[in-house]
């Protein structure tokens, strides 16, 4: 039994039938999975179902052997847009998950500082979201998802608004943080090489179904030169072909 079990789940938005069409998937504890697919194929919807933000019509979702019926602060979620509170500074936004649970301690402040430094925002911790660039806002959102040490992390294209170099740095940081905390991750992206670099396993979605999946058998830890290895390119090419073939 996997740590995350998606069992035969179906979902419709009102009249739009079967946006998610009987999907099954499982992730073992500590694994990092990436979900790829064209825009509008249902990735965000599947992620919200897995996190309990939406309820499926058929099937069920299990996390850590418990049935998921509603969201829980044991899970971390990074939304497709940063979704910061405009009236809170960067650090206050990062501390929000704690604040909703209990009183903030000195320790939490330090933790938040560290996380923000790790995503390269050390100088911006007291700025308001309106004073941050789009990419900086996304990084605050990532720090916020990590502060309460979730057992599972759902990320919806968190790096989409970033430049290539920052993105690569954050990919490293994310892998490291998740390894330290043994976090299980489901990560959505449009970027094939990002998926191959990060994932233990990749699923490709199309029109509400998972049409392809593969294990990524690259060395761990993933390093800079991993990106330029032959097998990395073989995987990328394979997935590119799958993504392209359906629509030609």
């Amino acid at each position: 039994m996997g740590f995350l079990e998606i069992q035969n789940v179906r979902f419709s938005y009102g009249q739009q039938r079967n946006i998610i069409d009987h999907v099954s998937w499982q992730i073992e504890k500590g694994e990092f999975h990436c979900l790829l697919g064209r825009s509008g194929c249902g990735k965000t919807t599947l992620l919200k179902l897995a996190a309990g933000l939406l309820q499926g019509e058929d099937g069920q979702i299990m996390i850590n052997n418990k049935k998921v019926t509603k969201p829980s602060n044991e899970y971390g979620f990074v939304f497709q847009s940063p979704t910061l509170l405009e009236w809170k500074t960067a650090i206050e936004n990062v501390l929000l998950p704690i604040k909703l649970k209990r009183k903030i301690k000195e320790q939490d402040q330090l933790e938040a500082n560290n996380l923000l430094a790790q995503v390269g925002l050390a100088e911006h911790i007291h700025k308001f979201p309106s004073e941050l660039s789009g990419g900086q806002q996304s990084r605050v959102a990532i720090a916020r998802a990590l502060i309460h040490k979730p057992i599972i992390l759902f990320l919806d294209e968190p790096f989409a608004a970033l430049d290539a170099i920052t993105r690569e740095e954050l990919q490293h940081d994310l892998l490291q943080l998740c390894k330290e905390q043994e976090t299980t991750v489901l990560f959505i992206t449009h970027d094939i090489s990002e998926a191959v670099f990060l994932a233990d396993r990749i699923a490709v979605m199309d029109r509400g179904k998972i049409i392809f999946d593969t294990i990524i058998n690259l060395e761990r830890p993933r390093l800079e030169h991993t990106r330029y290895s032959v097998s990395f390119n073989t995987y990328s090419k394979k997935i590119r072909d799958v993504l392209g073939s359906k629509h030609i």
Binding site: F79, S81, T83, W87
Partner: protein, 250 residues
């Protein structure tokens, strides 16, 4: 900014000159000249005649605002949050708004007497509605994503209300108060027109009786100044205590 102030003052001076010229051609009873009005104003301010009236009017406005604001906020939150109360209370709310509230003033004087109470009630009633309405709309300002975020973080409905919906709605709520203060002044003055011998509204009625037009104009100037001060106070409070809530995402 300075250029704007310059133009504003320029317009003011031109208006004064036109007024002065017009006043020279008319009886003082119809249109007293600015200088005479200023003299009257100064005279009554220094003699202490105006002070108690100003005090009364301000107290009525502030008490009415407090009462109307408190009820408006609470009702706005309740009706914004609960579909049940919104549906049940909306017809009553519309009915209460359809009644011209100032026309109720004589009734309130009958019920609450000629003292301050009746005027405070009228004032409260007049500023209640914009505050309620704006609070209700303000609570809808938080977007779907932010709500999902709070659900994801396991927030209960009180936390969602006090840490998301109300802060997100503060710009709208303050806009409600801005409208409320100006209306409150109208409410208080109309109340004073109808009953009682205290307050700037009562002074206006009295000066009409005495055919003392300069006194009437002086009271009007004081009322205008009062209204502008109240309006500015709301802006001041907004900038001092709520600045961060007014920031919006680019």
């Amino acid at each position: 900014m300075n250029r704007h102030a310059g133009v504003s003052i320029g317009i003011f001076i031109v208006l004064l000159i036109i007024w002065e010229l017009a006043a020279q051609r008319m009886s003082q009873l119809v249109l007293p000249s600015p200088m005479i009005i200023l003299e009257t104003l100064w005279l009554h301010l220094t003699s202490g005649y105006f002070l108690p009236h100003i005090g009364i009017t301000i107290s009525e406005v502030l008490l009415g605002l407090l009462l109307g604001g408190l009820f408006g906020l609470t009702a706005g939150i309740v009706m914004g949050e609960s579909v049940f109360f919104r549906k049940v209370l909306t017809p009553y709310l519309i009915a209460s708004q359809a009644v011209p509230k100032l026309a109720l003033a004589p009734l309130f004087i009958l019920w609450f007497g000629f003292g301050m109470t009746s005027k405070v009630v009228i004032t409260a009633l007049v500023c209640f509605f914009p505050i309620l309405e704006n609070t209700m709309t303000g609570l809808k300002y938080s977007n779907k994503q932010q709500l999902d975020l709070f659900r994801m973080l396991g927030a209960n409905k009180w936390q969602i209300l006090f840490q998301l919906k109300i802060p997100a709605g503060i710009p709208a709520i303050i806009a409600g108060f801005r409208v409320g203060v100006v209306l409150a002044l109208v409410g208080a003055v109309v109340g004073e027109f109808i009953g009682g011998s205290e307050g700037l509204g009562a002074v206006i009625i009295a000066s009409q009786g005495m055919m003392d037009t300069p006194l009437m104009f002086s009271s009007l100037i004081l009322l205008t100044a009062l209204g502008m001060m109240l309006y500015q106070t709301v802006n001041l409070i907004e900038n001092k205590y709520f600045a961060k809530y007014i920031r919006r995402q680019r």
